[in-house]
């Protein structure tokens, strides 16, 4: 394990000792995450050593926990729920969950059980929150202060949307958007569009989108959107609507606030406006996952992950001197496709002293991870390599 979690682990152990004491006198036990906060009940099954609890609905994966992992285990995947997860009862009979389809020649409703007989595709995608890297901005943006851990690489299985479209006679003319609606409960007194999770993406995304019921070989956990989740490869997490209950081809974008004014990238201090770019396509990005603080002299394994965004990551370079010089770092393990990330490893011989380690990725369309990323009001989309660099002290 790297040294960054080491510091937090000491903190964790202090909390853990308190918990053991509580257990001895018959009090309920809780599982503490890396920051000493208990895991919320609905994600009590997560690996506490790998998680940081920002709030009940936002849990980050510890940076070092990713290591050289190609696929992020379910119990280490970050959580960002825009609304509290629905009751556990919705996954009691997963195949009975019903979805309505609109904006097609033959609109209909189908259960998950029926969807499973239409077609199956398995894809690997990076799932990443728009605000991943918010902590690296300096303008005090509101929202969870994610560092690198609002991202994971997931293998999804589900039915291709294009197969459903074909089965239902094609998309009605003039429908420019693919709109997914989440099944979260909206409290009384609120018009649905105020907080409903409903996102629209360009209609062409139907060619690669799937409706997934499986996550890394297991039924999708409730916390991650089970029984059914819309997966838009290459797009930020918010577009991957959980508890999908409606998939509609629509002429206009959803009227929901989360679409109209939420998740829009704009200059600091500017009000949200539907004309601003929506958080759709992810960008080329990489970061080191270890070592993060300290290393012993001699040979050290430096590792991280690199992603291409919407086109395959083609190469990643590593700098041991804060970006003065760069050398290509080899990928390790199989290529899971253009939307997955690829781990990289370099064995380096580091002298005593402090070294600034940085990584820089490039994708198949030639986009290069930039040195810096401009501040924006909601602190979205940070992929600057300098902010993601780590100072490692070798002794």
């Amino acid at each position: 394990m790297t040294q960054l979690p080491g510091l937090k682990r000491r903190h964790f152990l202090v909390g853990a000792a308190g918990v053991s004491g509580a257990a001895m006198v018959g009090l309920p036990t809780v599982t503490l995450a890396q920051d000493g906060t208990p895991l919320p009940d609905y994600v009590a099954w997560k690996d506490a050593d790998a998680m940081i609890v920002h709030s009940p609905e936002t849990l980050e994966t510890v940076r070092g926990a990713i290591g050289t992992g190609i696929v992020t285990p379910n119990d280490e995947v970050y959580i960002r729920n825009n609304l509290p997860a629905p009751d556990e009862s919705i996954v009691a009979d997963r195949d009975a969950w019903e979805v309505t389809f609109e904006g097609l020649a033959e609109p209909m409703s189908l259960t998950v059980g029926q969807l499973k007989t239409v077609g199956v595709e398995t894809i690997a995608t990076v799932l990443q929150c728009s605000g991943n890297g918010r902590k690296f901005f300096e303008h005090e943006a509101s929202g969870s202060q994610w560092e690198t851990g609002a991202a994971g690489c997931i293998i999804w299985s589900g039915v291709p949307v294009r197969d459903l479209v074909s089965m239902m006679g094609g998309v009605t003319e003039g429908m420019n958007w693919l709109t997914g609606t989440g099944g979260e409960e909206i409290p009384d007194g609120l018009p649905p569009e105020t907080i409903q999770v409903e996102r629209s993406v360009p209609v062409d995304m139907m060619e690669t989108a799937i409706l997934a019921w499986e996550m890394n070989g297991e039924p999708i956990p409730l916390a991650h959107g089970g029984p059914l989740r819309l997966v838009i490869p290459g797009y930020y997490g918010v577009n991957n609507v959980k508890y999908l209950k409606r998939l509609a081809f629509t002429a206009e974008e959803s009227p929901a606030k989360i679409q109209q004014t939420g998740y829009r990238i704009r200059p600091v201090g500017e009000s949200a406006d539907p004309s601003q770019p929506s958080m759709y396509e992810m960008s080329v990005k990489s970061w080191i996952t270890g070592p993060l603080m300290d290393a012993a002299t001699g040979k050290v394994q430096i590792h991280g992950v690199a992603m291409g965004g919407t086109s395959a990551v083609e190469k990643v370079e590593l700098s041991l001197d804060g970006g003065e010089t760069w050398a290509e770092a080899p990928f390790v393990g199989p290529d899971l496709g253009p939307y997955a990330w690829r781990p990289f490893v370099v064995i380096a011989d580091l002298e005593a002293g402090t070294h600034t380690l940085a990584s820089r990725a490039m994708n198949a369309t030639g986009d290069v991870q930039p040195e810096d990323f401009p501040p924006n009001e909601r602190a979205y989309g940070h992929n600057g390599w300098r902010a993601h660099a780590v100072d490692v002290t070798v002794s």
């Binding site: 960054l4 510091l7 937090k8 903190h11 920051d35 000493g36 906060t37 208990p38 895991l39 919320p40 009940d41 609905y42 609890v53 920002h54 709030s55 009940p56 609905e57 960002r80 825009n82 609304l83 509290p84 690296f136 300096e138 005090e140 943006a141 509101s142 929202g143 202060q145 409290p187 007194g189 609120l190 018009p191 105020t194 907080i195 409903q196 999770v197 918010v238 606030k257 989360i258 004014t261 939420g262 998740y263 009000s271 949200a272 993060l292 603080m293 600034t356 009001e377 909601r378 300098r386 902010a387 660099a389 780590v390 100072d391």
Partner: protein
């Protein structure tokens, strides 16, 4: 901005600092409470818990238990929205946003039992 022990230690400290970010004496609590519970449309209380306002909403974060609740972040959240939380600069005046933000900054964190984990 590479990682440092200092920033990590600061982050750990801050996550435990559930202290009001603004002194109550400098804030019009009554006006802030009224905006929180009534003027804002939809009302902040529908979604958020806040002991001082007797609010028990469970959709959004419990404001008595949130990390990093300083006035700048609260103001930015109210004006520009966060996630599904709508931007209130469409329905509240700048002055109202300032008043309700200062109110939350002054009173949040008074619930000794709040852990940030409500479910």
């Amino acid at each position: 901005m590479p990682n440092s022990v200092a920033s990590l230690a600061a982050a750990i400290f801050l996550s435990f600092a559930a202290i009001p970010a603004v002194a109550e004496a400098d804030v019009d609590l009554e006006a802030g409470r009224a905006i929180f519970n009534e003027t804002a449309e939809p009302s902040c209380a529908i979604c958020h818990s806040l002991v001082d306002a007797e609010a028990e909403g469970e959709v959004g974060p419990n404001l008595d238990a949130m990390e990093g609740l300083d006035l700048d972040r609260i103001r930015a959240a109210v004006a520009g929205g966060v996630g599904v939380m709508p931007a209130f600069d469409e329905v509240l005046s700048e002055e109202e946003i300032e008043t309700v933000s200062a109110y939350v900054a002054a009173v949040a964190g008074k619930d000794a039992n709040a852990t940030g984990i409500s479910n």
